[in-house]
Symmetry: C2
Subunit: 184 residues, 2 copies
Amino acid sequence: MIKHIHEFEINTMKLGEGVEAAIHCAAMLAGVEGNSTLAGAAMAEAFGLSPSYLLKHLNMLSAARILESVSGPAGGYRLARPAERISLLDIVLAVEGREPAFRCGEIRRNGPVRLDASAYVKPCGINAAMLKAERAYRAALAEAKLSDIVATYAAEGDPRSLAASCAFVERHQRPQKSSSTKQA
Amino acid sequence: MIKHIHEFEINTMKLGEGVEAAIHCAAMLAGVEGNSTLAGAAMAEAFGLSPSYLLKHLNMLSAARILESVSGPAGGYRLARPAERISLLDIVLAVEGREPAFRCGEIRRNGPVRLDASAYVKPCGINAAMLKAERAYRAALAEAKLSDIVATYAAEGDPRSLAASCAFVERHQRPQKSSSTKQA
DNA sequence: CTTATTGCGGATAAAAATTATCCATGATAA
DNA sequence: TTATCATGGATAATTTTTATCCGCAATAAG
């Protein structure tokens, strides 16, 4: 392994790659018409992702009621509600889980001197500060709606990639039978 | 390993355990007097951590100029600057690295249709939204100073654990020769 | 009713990151 | 000189993430 002068350690607070995939898929699904669906395999192709693994993430989104799925031929996924009511936080929590990034291990208790448990009823101040920061993070993600992402993309994105994306959706979306807006 | 009825997947955006250790150590170091130091092994004992691994994290803090280290017997670590000028963000970035949690893999380019690179000069809107949220996170962490943590602990923490912590520091801190406030 | 397509879930495997240990080295106080 | 301690590299153990596969249920179409 080549070590340059000072090859930096890249151990970072990290979001799984599934989040990126999930958001892109959701944004793409925001472009399908009516109650049509897009197959998971089609989206995997669109982003050059492993189909079988992407399905895992899409499944999380289904479980979280962000997407709806339709089995069978002509089946696939669609948004479970309007893009205006889906936030990036919804997606991140669905894919990455609802636990905070900072988990207090209560290591303050692990020293050689064992105090009574009652000495630790007050929450750890460090934990409190970290969770407060994470609330700010989540609040910002909650503000970001999928519809904003799509609108910004349409308004500011490059026309070529927008056209390619729309063409892809047009080509792969599949109309459904049940004609009303939707049903659980 | 026991699997209960529906053992939840706990895949979460995660901060390494080293962060918790690092913050606790820094908070403890805020309690040492003058330019005295605390040995890494002592802090590992205080929190029931693996000494050799904790040293790695303390080393990161040294490299980031958050801590100073003194070699030799009676050596150890101390804060490199007053606790008022050390934020939780400083510590988190030192230990976890400076990369954002969300790394845009530009998967929008990976589809079957390859557009010219010029179609992607505009940054990905998803990436922008995620980074904006992370800025909010970091801003909150930057507000949280180590001195606040310590002060809150002194004011609101349980007297017993406070006393135990102070006693530990008293017992293990080691005065240094160079008598002025400090020197790099 | 049969067939083909698709999502779902479990089992499992491969790859990568995290956590942890060990040892050689240099610094330094006693 | 000796003992203590931080440093850094090498390496191992463990856990998490990523990925694949297969059988199953649902369902549209013939």
